[in-house]
């Protein structure tokens, strides 16, 4: 049944894209395409990203646009699926004629899409997906990432874990490349710091399919293992269900150390509110109260005023990517794709998260990172981070030689 449907949809799409000739206007607005997860259990990430993008576009257009041209935005839903991601990116480039593509939440989608960008000759700025491959062994001239990647986040996780009491670590993560790679890099970096640290073999750790809504079996498995430290790389709806059920089952009873690698996503914090336990270390790509710079203050205030919620890291990612694109296009004095790619390479820009430099060798953003402990604060409707631990981009970013990137 499903097969028939996908064939029908594909045919309809083919007919449509052949019928509509590629519009490549030289004049007119700067067109930006956005690809996020807009449906399913991770759809809040797309919603926040869209809000962040709209805020940035509004600010830039109000200030006269990019090189005098206004920005026009096209939003597409990747549904978190690689095949859909490829399809909508082709549509954005061939049909809407976008000057750049921004977005991507899932590492699965990012890995599938990055190699296509060479063929589409269009810049892609990844704002969330964290797989090291797209700025590593699959890096290419057109693919950039403005957010922290998995290696950087796991370096921070390992640094925090090294100071904890736990002697043996295990993990609960999503059962796809992201969950497995998070565990792999965590183990690698923690061993570098503390060679005596123990890790459960892969057969004893827990990876749950992304469709899981009942995590009890995985929680039981980890609670009954001999590990006293748990790296949790679940995110989105999975993380919400997990935290809820784990709290009920006594997982956060203090007998084990817990690291939630993406726990400080406001999408998750808003859903859980006071159901998020206090005193748990959580990671993020950006934290809205992470610094007092004027850039951050103006972003958070404007976002809060417009949407009545605090921006998440995904909102920041989309906002940051547009600001970086604008900076590159005005440096190049053109939104020509090749010129923008040249200008993005090595670009340094101050964003709400802090100073961000796109490393020319692999196109990965070098930026400061932050982890924090969840705490209740009557001034906020959600858990906040107190205390926080800051890391510099230099200490958390592996050298280019380690990434496996060979830029053509």
């Amino acid at each position: 049944m499903k097969k028939v449907w996908s064939i029908l949809v594909t045919l309809a799409f083919l007919a449509f894209s052949i019928g509509a000739s590629a519009v490549m206007a030289a004049d007119g607005p700067v067109k930006l395409g956005f690809v996020y997860i807009m449906s399913g259990p991770f759809a809040t990430y797309g919603q926040f990203a869209k809000q962040g993008a709209e805020l940035a576009i509004e600010e830039i257009n109000k200030a006269g646009g990019i090189n005098g041209k206004k920005i026009e935005a096209f939003f597409e839903d990747s549904a978190g699926k690689p095949d859909v991601g490829i399809r909508v990116i082709r549509k954005l480039v061939y049909e809407n004629g976008v000057d750049a593509v921004i977005g991507l939440d899932s590492s699965g989608v990012a890995s599938a899409v990055a190699p296509i960008m060479k063929e589409l000759k269009t810049p892609l700025i990844i704002t969330h997906a964290a797989t090291p491959d797209v700025t590593g062994k699959n890096c290419n001239r057109y693919t950039f990432r403005i957010s922290l990647n998995e290696n950087q986040n796991m370096k921070m996780a390992a640094a925090i874990a090294a100071d904890m009491k736990a002697k043996t670590w295990t993990t609960i993560g999503p059962d796809y490349s992201f969950g497995h790679q998070s565990w792999e890099y965590f183990e690698k970096y923690l061993k570098e710091k503390k060679p005596e640290m123990g890790f459960l073999p892969v057969s004893e750790v827990a990876f749950a399919p992304m469709k899981t809504t009942d995590f009890s079996a995985y929680i039981t498995k980890v609670m009954n293992s001999k590990a006293d430290g748990v790296l949790v790389s679940l995110w989105g709806g999975n993380l919400i269900d997990f935290v809820r059920q784990a709290s009920d089952m006594g997982f956060f009873d203090g007998k084990r150390e817990v690291l939630l690698t993406l726990g400080a996503a406001t999408e998750v914090l808003y859903a859980l509110k006071d159901k998020m336990p206090e005193g748990i270390w959580v990671g993020t790509r950006y934290w809205f109260a992470g610094n007092d710079s004027p850039e951050n203050k103006s972003f958070v205030d404007a976002y809060k005023a417009k949407y009545d919620t605090y921006p998440s890291y995904n909102a920041h990612g989309a906002y940051a990517a547009i600001k970086a694109f604008a900076a590159a296009a005005s440096k190049a004095k053109s939104s020509d794709k090749e010129k923008v790619v040249d200008a993005l390479t090595g670009l340094s820009i101050t964003l709400p998260v802090g100073k961000v430099t796109i490393r020319p060798e692999d196109h990965q953003a070098i930026t400061d990172g932050i982890w924090g402990k969840t705490a209740a604060d009557p001034a906020y409707p959600i858990r906040v981070l107190k205390p926080v631990k800051n890391f510099t981009g230099a200490e958390i970013t592996p050298p280019v030689a380690e990434t496996g990137c060979k830029m053509e």
Binding site: S39, G40, P41, A217, G237, Q245
Partner: protein, 286 residues
């Protein structure tokens, strides 16, 4: 040992949710011959409506009672105005139609409630934990485990002893003969479809405090329910019960003992059953 017991409880609580969903699916299929793709969306709708009612009237119990009823009323509208016109046509029309209803409901829920996840608290009396060895187990899950057989027994008694139950069984066995002896099939069909939806809505309302209420909440459970229905035997109540138990336990023990195969386990079981008993464990061989 304690790990074993907790795994059994984990498997049972998921299995009982599966049982409720599968019962609705299997009844609608058994009596009407309709494979309802939108069943998972009705489950989702039950969860969302109970979440909304719990917010408005802050009573979990009223939400639990009224959400399935609202879902059933919606199902009556769907059956009366959408399904009924295509009964006489090829079965693919029914499949396409329920598939369309599914897409419509999924997007409708997203339009009304947005993409965010919502939490529903269990009522105070069920929100505690129960000590097991040196661990604790949520009382709400034990409640779920008890609800499955309770509802199952009520329905079994209804189908075995009440007049209406017998009529439905008779119609399921031979629709034409039932019509000849005076059963009004159209009303019966509406009632059965509404009943299936009521069960889906009830499952959703019961699932709400157990997981978060968000988009695609029904996606996973509906796939497993289809497997349960096929394994147990299309249209069979005991089959749905046994199938749901097996799948629930397979899920919890599979995650612990065979982590690399856990996603494949239900499908392997499905293949084995289809090869050895094509009509399911409790299906009657024709």
């Amino acid at each position: 040992m304690e790990g074993f017991l907790i795994n059994v409880l984990n498997g049972l609580s998921w299995g009982m949710l599966l049982f409720l969903i599968s019962m609705g699916l299997t009844t609608v299929f058994g009596v009407m011959g309709v494979l309802n793709f939108a069943h998972g969306s009705l489950f989702m709708l039950g969860a969302y409506i109970s979440m909304q009612l719990t917010r408005w009237i802050s009573s979990f119990w009223l939400g639990l009672i009224f959400a399935p009823i609202i879902v059933a009323i919606l199902a009556i509208i769907i059956e009366r105005f959408l399904l009924r016109p295509v009964y006489g046509r090829d079965v693919s029309f029914q499949l396409l139609l329920t598939f369309g209803v599914m897409l419509f409901l999924d997007d409708g829920v997203r339009l009304i409630w947005g993409p965010a996840h919502h939490l529903v608290n269990p009522p105070d009396v069920l929100s505690g934990v129960f000590p097991i060895f040196d661990q604790t187990y949520p009382v709400y899950r034990l409640f779920l485990i008890a609800m499955g057989p309770a509802i199952g027994i009520i329905l079994w008694a209804f189908f075995s002893y009440s007049r209406y139950g017998k009529i439905i069984r008779a119609a399921a066995m031979d629709r034409e003969m039932a019509e000849i002896i005076g059963v009004r099939a159209p009303i019966l069909f509406t009632a059965v479809f509404a009943f299936g939806a009521w069960l889906a809505g009830l499952g959703g309302a019961l699932a709400a405090p157990h997981q978060s209420v968000g988009p695609a909440i029904g996606e996973h459970i509906i796939i497993e329910s289809f497997i349960v229905v096929v394994i147990g035997g299309m249209g069979s109540f005991p089959g749905a019960f046994v199938g749901a138990l097996i799948l629930g336990l397979l899920g919890s023990f599979g995650a612990t003992m065979a982590p690399n195969f856990q996603m494949a386990l239900p499908y392997i079981l499905l293949a084995i059953v289809l090869l050895t008993r094509p009509r399911g464990i409790f299906g009657e061989e024709s």
